[in-house]
Symmetry: C2
Subunit: 139 residues, 2 copies
Amino acid sequence: MSCTPRLTQLLRLRGFRMTPQRLAILQALHDGGHLSPGQVYKRVAQTGMMETTVYRTLDFLAENGILFVTNRAKGHLAYELARASHHHLVCRTCGAQVDLEREALQPLVDQLFQRTGYRLDVGHFTFSGLCPVCLPDSE
Amino acid sequence: MSCTPRLTQLLRLRGFRMTPQRLAILQALHDGGHLSPGQVYKRVAQTGMMETTVYRTLDFLAENGILFVTNRAKGHLAYELARASHHHLVCRTCGAQVDLEREALQPLVDQLFQRTGYRLDVGHFTFSGLCPVCLPDSE
DNA sequence: TTCCTTATTGCAATTATTATCAATAACAAT
DNA sequence: ATTGTTATTGATAATAATTGCAATAAGGAA
Ligand SMILES: [Mn+2]
Ligand SMILES: [Mn+2]
Ligand SMILES: [Zn+2]
Ligand SMILES: [Zn+2]
């Protein structure tokens, strides 16, 4: 990947280290898009890395802003390489998805700030809903 | 609880049954507010009920609209007795919370509908952010 | 290159969550 | 009250996720 030298530097500046395990996991996410810990493990199992390392590493990389995390259905997490801030809107019936640019949540951020003084963390949301196709069928 | 006859009827109309286990779990949530499955289990363990029953029952009651579920930190779920639709905004630094009435998300619902044609499911969100006290400290 | 420090991993043990299936008990009908 | 149907639970196994610690290795310094 083209970004590995940059990420290596980023970690070193913070006193952390780049490792073959972290590189393998980054590669898996580079190839796979949004993946659960189990899916990541399947893609790196060949290297002999432990599954516990996958969990730890995903959490670590997300903590350092190198990965995005999102809460998928029923409390399950999915990770992806951090890129332009965005969110997802997925149809609960047919699974169709659309992406939302970061700015789509700015009105909510502003409104919550006005109402409560809280500044919303705009991370990487996955919203559920009904797509235009399924919406009419629902009732 | 005062609502148990109504809930019993609700379940029967759908072909389900009220049981001592379900009543105990409802009581625990009545007393405890927002609880994780483990916290619910602690409160009903005295009855001898299995922990697996707690998980199943929480999922079942939420599926039937009797409980609200929400995604708390790192993919962990919390349940509460369904009441007036609302959401939560919690400070990621000090943990301070404010509640949001259902209408607080209506602008987002409308905006997403306009932009994408998707109708957002407005369930029971827990948003993270910085409270007015912690906000200035964050640089 | 070699040596040190210590961040990181492997490994094993816990804990959390889900799945299976036979035994139980709600509750509707008699 | 008794019976029959079957939703529900207990019990156990399987799977997912977390934790603790000793062994390993990244990478800065000599
Ligand atoms: Mn994404
Ligand atoms: Mn709530
Ligand atoms: Zn759809
Ligand atoms: Zn705060």
